[in-house]
């Protein structure tokens, strides 16, 4: 427990890790938003969820998007992933311009370039863990890379659970299956939406540690939306959103740093300062 009474997740100090995958200016961009606006409704009922957000996600970096409720963090992620359309501006994933893609283009994008991890796990109850993990590949009609599959499975420690149905797995195990499902296709970007929101702290730490390792060791790009400072501290970089705009950014955060920024966000006077 820390001073605030919060459970501190058990994790190796990330500063001790080598920075082999550290972002340099020449690294290609995995995803990017250029002056993205998202407006719901019109006239009186108009709600501006995003106001001109421009943000770049470098390849091989674990980015957390934080912000208070209603700040637009989920909307930004949905727009980045092509799940939602933008009102103005452009979104790119890798070389692909997401803005303006039709359904089949978006389907292809999700198949080849994007992976998802959800708060609710979202596994198919009729499929075994292994089948769930391989689902994106089989939908795309791609052969899994056996060596990579084994690596992923070993990393998430699901070797003994592959034949189980989701109902027979704990929440943490289910989320690890979901992580493995996102990773096994080696997408350009994995979008994780509150991945630890439904997990106890131990399971959450496992999942976050696994996500970070996949970035460090395999160069995976991950964009995670969260409101948990501890979860955010696993990321290489934290972007803060408030009122639909990027208001702050942190590199190599610790939970206390994140918590501190969040407190300031909740107090507009300090933000203005």
């Amino acid at each position: 427990m820390d001073a605030a009474g919060r459970t501190v997740l058990v994790r190796p100090d990330h500063d001790l890790f080598t920075r082999g995958n550290q972002v340099t200016a020449s690294d290609p961009v995995a995803a990017r938003a250029d002056d993205v606006w998202k407006v719901y409704g019109s006239g009186e009922a108009e709600v501006i969820a995003l106001r001109g957000v421009s943000v770049t996600f470098q390849r091989g970096v674990f980015t957390a998007i934080m912000g208070p409720s209603g700040s637009g963090k989920s909307t930004l992620m949905h727009c980045l992933a092509g799940l939602d359309s933008v009102t103005r501006g452009e979104v790119h994933i890798g070389e692909t311009r997401v803005t303006g893609l039709g359904d089949s283009g978006l389907t292809k994008l999700r198949r080849d370039k994007v992976g998802f991890i959800f708060q609710q796990f979202n596994l198919l109850p009729t499929l075994s863990a292994k089948e769930n993990i391989l689902l994106p590949l089989s939908i795309a009609g791609r052969k899994p890379d056996d060596a990579w599959f084994d690596t992923v499975i070993k990393t998430v420690a699901l070797q003994d659970r592959l034949g189980h149905r989701p109902a027979q797995l704990s929440g943490g195990q289910q989320q690890r299956v979901a992580c493995a499902r996102a990773l096994v296709a080696r997408p350009e970007v994995i979008f994780a939406d509150e991945p630890t929101g439904n997990l106890d702290s131990k399971s959450g730490a496992d999942v976050l540690g696994f996500l970070r390792d996949s970035v460090k060791t395999y160069g995976q790009t991950i964009v995670m939306v969260t409101h948990d400072p501890v979860a955010a501290s696993y990321a290489d970089r934290v972007i803060f959103l408030a009122d639909g705009a990027v208001v702050d950014e942190l590199s190599d955060p610790t939970p206390d740093m994140v918590l501190d920024r969040m407190k300031r966000l909740d107090n507009p006077a300090e933000v203005a300062r």
Partner: protein, 850 residues
Amino acid sequence: MFRSMLRGLLTHKLRLALSALAVILGTMFMSGAFVAGDTFAQGFTALFSTVNRDIDVEVTAKDTSPGGQNAQLGTPTALLDQQDVDTVQKVDGVAKTTPGVYSAGARLIGSDGKVVGGNGPPQQGIAWQDQDPLIQLRQGRPPQAANEIAINQGLSTDSGFGLGQTANVITLEPPTPYTIVGIFGFPGDRPSLAGETTVAFTLAQAQRVLLNAPGKFTSIDVTAASGVSDDTLRDRIAAALPDDVVRTGAQVAEEQQSATSSFVNILKTGLVVFALIGMFTGAFLIFNTFSMLVAQRTRELALYRSFGASRGQVNRSVLLESVLLGLAASIVGLALGILVGYILNKALQAFIDASLPVSGVVVRAYAVLTTLAVGTAFTVVAALIPALRASRVPPIAAMRDAVTPDKPLTRLTVAGAVILAAGGLLLGLGVAHVGDLPTWLTLGIGAALTFLGVALLAPIISRPLTTAAGKAFAWSVPGRLGARNTGRNPRRTAVTAAALMIGVALATGAGVFAQSAKAGISNAFERDVNAQLAVTTSFSQGPGANAGFPPELEQTMAALPGVSAAVALRTDTVNLNGSDRFVLAGDAQAASTIFNLKPVAGNVRELDPGEVLLDQDTADALRLGVGDRVTMRTARAAPVTLDVVGIFKPNQAISSSLISSADAGGFRSPFAQQGFVQVANDSQVPQVRAELDRLFANNPEVTVNDQSQLIDQANSFVDILLGIVNTLLALTIIVAVLGVVNTLLLSVFERTRELGLIRAVGMSRAQVGRMITVESVLISVFGALLGIVIGVGLGVAIVKALGDEFLSLTVPWGYLLITLALAIVAGAIAAVLPAIRAARLNVLQAIAYE
């Protein structure tokens, strides 16, 4: 509380609309049957009251001929003479007598060489009456010479013959030319009363060619003097003519009406049975819908319970929903049914070639009440179990996630097995004709129990079966997922499939029966008819109907080069030693050769006048043996005594006693109805056939067929019946397919999140559509397979139970394959709407909702 719950009901509009549609279809069909039947009957009522409007009293002779009113062909034999007319005329209170001649045996050959009419309404011949108020001369003049006729407007139009032209008319005489001198119509500017054709001859000619009885009449219509009531006059005339039938015009109309209404009732009952089968199927759909609604609303219902709603209140509110749904759907169904009734009535009239004097539709109170009651009752009964389940939702369910654990299927399976066993036992009893109940009832209840038992067993069968069938789709991801989904909720899959099973089983059963009948017919022909060629006459019935050919042509046929045996058969109902029997007259020697008659006693040989060959059944029934004598009374001649010279075993072709042509003079029809020709050498068949065609060229009612044509004719009759049954079963199948649509829509709704996920991980719209289609096809194939298995069982049971020699048990494999293929198509069609819904799903909303 009810109001707020009803709001809950209305939020599930689409699913309710689908189950309502099932009720609507059923009630529509049912009320359509009622309305069509009643309107049709009303048409006949109007017709007969018109026909008898101007008759106060009608006198006819009592028909004492063998078979009497039931004899379906020949010439009227119950006749009156001038002396009767005079007697009636002298009765006090009689203003006028009109003796009439009527027979349904005047067929005019149209300009296309074919006989006009004959598909339903009679082809009647009458004697022209100058002051008949019913008949209105429109053109020309009444017939005055033997070779002159007047015809009704409708007949003139249909035949293409007008005033002054000459047309051939078949009566008791072969086709004979007559000059059309008059054309008449009926009150209300009608060209016919109801689509019938009428040829009016001079009185003398009518008596000769329609009755073969100069000076005789078929009826005397009496007009009462003013101040004398019909009933009084009837009683007075009856006293003067105690041996005749004397009725008022109203009585006649009523009797004619009741004869048709029994036909209309059979028709109505048949249609209603199919409507009920459709509703029975719909009950499965309603059951499923309500179960699903209750399951989805567990939280809501628990909330009511936690607010203090009692079990009874929850139970009642769900039932009230079903009452409202059932009633609303029944009202819509009734409204549509009235429209269907209107169309169906027109179709019926077109089918029998009639145009009855009725406009609009007749909607009786019982039709409205029965339809609403049955529609509502089916809905409520189907909703009973879901309502009970709703009342069992504990209040605590409001606080926690709705978990629907997979309840074990043991109880269901045991119950299903017991019910199925009972059904099977009843079917067995029915087949063996054991027990006091009539066979059809035993089989019917057995079939219903079998359906129910299998429906209860279906959940436990569904998983392995759909898994096995799912292997067929395992090569694609959507296929595999679809197959898995089918096995996911075995009860729901089973109920949905069971609904389809009913229609498929009945269609399959009918198919087995039809195929067995066709096989039986073919076998009978091949075994018992050794003739390459047959002469048949068109089917006609009614007093006076007498299509046929002169029996003397038997010798002519036999004498044709290449012919080894020929027989011309005359048929009639006669009276043998006090018992009405159907007998045949013709060359017994030839008949024996052609039909393989096997003697049981005496000889089967050529008959001299005064001799008879009895079939064994008749001989046994009348306790007659070879050497005995039997008295035969015919319709038109004095009784004769016949010597029994032989007894033969009846077969499929000949199952009636045979007499010599010389003794058939008293038969109603002077004609032979059927001829069979055996050709010695097959190569000569075309040549003989050409000769026969030439022989019957002048008579369009006589056709020459070879054996395969004959079999085809008999089979086409079976096919038509099967077609009608299957058309009527289409209603049931449509309802079942609606059920599949309903179940899938619900699955799509329940699995919104899952569908969102698989879209998010890269599944395309088309793939999602395919996944739903696989699910739908698997449910349909499951239902069809169950139906086919049960249907074959039912068909076999019915064929065995009837045990008729005309049925040779045959399973129509091709028909079964087509049924299965249709089920796949139906499944694919049922998937369209749910698949579109699933594919249109907004991915973001599907996965983002909390």
